[in-house]
């Protein structure tokens, strides 16, 4: 197997050896060690402090046990030694689409990324395996001081800002997978919106895993300065292989006083991807953070977007939908911590289980003793479409302030026969009627997405519903 000379030049003779597979420029052999972590940092020519953070995180990861909750039988199947922790398929991040290697370009063109950019986006980052391969931002936003870069470029060009905020919202010791991400992160987005600037159109990142046994560990940091606003949209896909891939991202949002961040995700990983993600935001005075989270694909998703309401008057919203098909477990939810007075939050979670899939809502809301007059509302609805599937709800509510008003309600049901009958009496087939009901069930989520994403999601759900009847 031919080794990569470029990699050798950078990190020396890597003990496990290098090899070119697919069209990768650099591919580390599978397995994780402190040397792999240091080598990733060296390849990226990172400052010393980042290397040290990575190494500390790796040591924590190595010591920390796997979670003893959730779908432990699926988690136990992850073999960290079989995962490739770094794979670079392009030698640079391009800002001219024509410069992106042809095969990667074709992949993203098939996914409709360049077309979407021209029509309705303020900026785009496209990540292929470990590194961003394409990046662009509208010139008027640059002129206003908006920074939108891939995370590696962000670290190179704005090291002070990154050092100030990196790991400030999600410390590496938060959980086993945030430690893993901090140790081997690569790619992701870095966004800074200056005071008072409103980014009217969404910015988008698209993440693609292409290789077998690949681990993708992007790291995203978004800082909205006082009075600013931004809407970030991310999409994820991967091809289907018989072996599993691992996606373990960390997203940190910092909403400074009066700002507004909306973070939308449509996750459609293939059914061989473990999607174990930590997403958290801190909202300062009167700031607002919204997570709009759609989980359609993956083998196992464990993702609980969270918000720490640190500043008085801040607000959080989490709207999430999950579709669990055959062999899938969508273990998703939300966490909101009310630390300051007059803070409000709302969680709406919808899930559908079908063909033996399992959908779980796992959530936590807390109100601290000093947080007066907080209001929070949690609603979870689940539909089970057949006898093989399962739906769970595990909400936790901890309230230590007597002025708080907190509500949680959840229901699990089947599709109403009356609704099916009515739609069929209006000329729809049973299958069409079911797809319409499912789209209607997800409507509170889709209406919060940019239109193109909403249309795409409806199409995806119609495809998933095919063959549901009979």
């Amino acid at each position: 197997m031919k080794t990569s000379q470029e990699a050798r030049d950078v990190v020396g003779d890597y003990k496990s050896g290098w090899h070119d597979t697919e069209n990768s420029t650099i591919r580390f052999d599978s397995g994780l060690s402190e040397k792999v972590v240091r080598d990733i940092s060296k390849i990226k020519n990172e400052p010393e402090w980042m290397t040290e953070v990575r190494v500390k995180a790796y040591r924590h990861f190595a010591e920390r046990k796997m979670p003893t909750w959730g779908n432990m039988s699926m988690l136990e199947q992850i073999d960290f030694e079989k995962v490739c922790y770094y794979l670079r398929s392009s030698s640079a991040t391009e800002n001219d689409w024509d410069e992106v290697p042809e095969e990667i370009r074709n992949t993203f063109e098939r996914l409709g990324i360049p077309e979407a950019e021209q029509k309705w986006l303020s900026g785009v980052t496209a990540q292929y395996e470990s590194e961003a391969v394409y990046h662009s931002i509208r010139e008027d936003l640059v002129a206003q001081g908006v920074i939108f870069l891939d995370m590696d470029s962000g670290l190179r060009e704005y090291p002070e800002i990154v050092k100030k905020w990196f790991c400030s919202v999600v410390p590496y010791s938060d959980n086993k997978f945030s430690a893993l991400n901090t140790a081997v992160w690569s790619g992701g987005s870095f966004i800074y919106v200056p005071k008072g600037v409103h980014v009217e159109m969404p910015v988008q990142a698209y993440f693609r895993i292409n290789a077998k046994n690949m681990g993708q560990f992007e790291r995203t940091l978004i800082i909205a300065d006082e009075g600013s606003s931004i809407h970030y949209v991310e999409g994820c896909t991967a091809p289907t292989y018989s072996t599993d891939s691992l996606h373990s991202a960390v997203v940190e949002l910092v909403a400074l006083p009066g700002s507004h961040i909306r973070y939308s995700t449509v996750q459609n990983w293939s059914a061989n991807v473990y999607n174990l993600v930590t997403k958290r935001g801190i909202a300062h005075e009167n700031a607002k953070i919204e997570w709009v989270d759609g989980n359609i694909g993956s083998k196992l998703t464990m993702k609980y977007p969270s918000v720490i309401l640190k500043g008085e008057g801040s607000h959080a919203e989490v709207i999430s939908v999950a579709y669990s098909g055959s062999g899938q477990h969508q273990d998703a939810g939300a966490k909101i911590h009310h630390l300051a007075s007059n803070t409000t939050s709302k969680i709406l979670s919808k899930s559908i289980s079908k063909d033996g899939g399992r959908g779980s809502y796992r959530g936590m809301v807390t109100v601290s003793p000093k947080a007066n007059n907080c209001k929070l509302n949690v609603v979870c609805d689940a539909l089970i479409l057949d006898d093989e599937s399962r739906s769970d709800t595990y909400p936790t509510m901890e309230v230590a302030n007597p002025t708080a008003r907190c509500e949680h309600e959840a229901s699990v049901s089947k599709v109403s026969d009356d609704q099916l009958f009515y739609l069929m009496s209006r000329g729809h087939t049973e299958e069409e009627a079911l797809a319409l009901i499912v789209n209607g069930f997800f409507e509170p989520f889709t209406r919060e997405l940019p239109m193109e994403y909403a249309v795409e999601l409806n199409k995806l759900m119609a495809l998933e519903m095919e063959g549901s009847i009979g």
């Binding site: 979670p67 003893t68 909750w69 003793p369 689940a382 089970i384 479409l385 057949d386 006898d387 599937s389 399962r390 739906s391 769970d392 709800t393 595990y394 909400p395 936790t396 509510m397 901890e398 309230v399 230590a400 302030n401 007597p402 002025t403 708080a404 008003r405 907190c406 509500e407 949680h408 309600e409 959840a410 229901s411 699990v412 049901s413 089947k414």
Partner: protein, 369 residues
Amino acid sequence: MNAINRYKEVSGTTDKADHLWRYTPWKKVHPTGDIKIVPEIDKEVKLRLINLDGTDLAEGISLQKGNVLEEKIEDIDPVATSFIKAVSEKSRWVLRTERKFTSEAPILLEIETNSDFNSLELVLDIGEMSEFEIVTLIKGESDWTGFLRTGRIGDGSNINDITVCLQKKGVLLRLDSIALGRDANMNTGTVSSGSERTKADLRYRMAENGSHLQVLGSILSREDMYLDYHIEIQHDAPETFSRLDWHAACGGKSRTIGTGMLKVAKGSTGTDAAQNFHNLLLSKDAEADGIPELEVSESNVVGCGHGIANGPIDENQVFYLQSRGFSKSDARSALIAAFLNSTLVKMGSTVLHEWLSKLLTSELDAMNK
């Protein structure tokens, strides 16, 4: 394997990730704090079975002391169960009713816990088509009390079963593992305003068609009380119905915890199940936590749902009562009593409700002093 060896085998297996042990670790419940120790309890617990109104017990009910058969208890936490079995050797009882036993008067089972450590195992063997109301009153000044209740409610029976916990101090570890027979109807309530720390794990299994269960709680916590209730309801048969309605009022520096698990097994078609937790926070240092969980593996259900609501006393209601001549503290007491009474009133007959209301009023008076 005897109970002591069984306990020693499992004693270190509790996990905070399991919501049963999330808020109260086993070592906080264990009488010595050292979970390896199985203390010897040489005194037996005193039990008394009488009619609540002082009349003679009806024919067909008996409370017998003796060895309980080493039956297999499914779906209950092995650590706490094996511990109570290990320390209850001298206090094992069977409460049995004959087929078609009925009693007009509510029955009172008094459990007096006055030695330092008490532990008791009680098996319910309720005959078919029985109809009666029973109150189990746990009172006394012991440092530690364990109470394991297992058994089956016979087919077609209709019983109201209330457990009142009024210990003046100490720790109460209470475990229920009750199965409901075909078309059995059980109202089971908990009224609690005692013990410094309560850890309760109450499990009910709808094992046969058509069973109907209502689980109710009226919990008043005050001072430094720490009351942790876990309630698990499992639907294992078609056309079964359950409701959980849990009301807790938390004052002083107390903390109440309500974790509920509703499981609907595959094949339990036509299940109708719901759980609701309501917490009223009465002081700035009180805390109320809740985790109502659902696991549903059957699609053809009437409905499965749960809810939780936490909040303070509604000041508009206080203001209204003040405008009708109540003092502020009387208005608050009346609203707390009404909040707790909304579950109390569903627990049994009018006679029983009056008895429970008096008890609750005296506890509220104690809180206001």
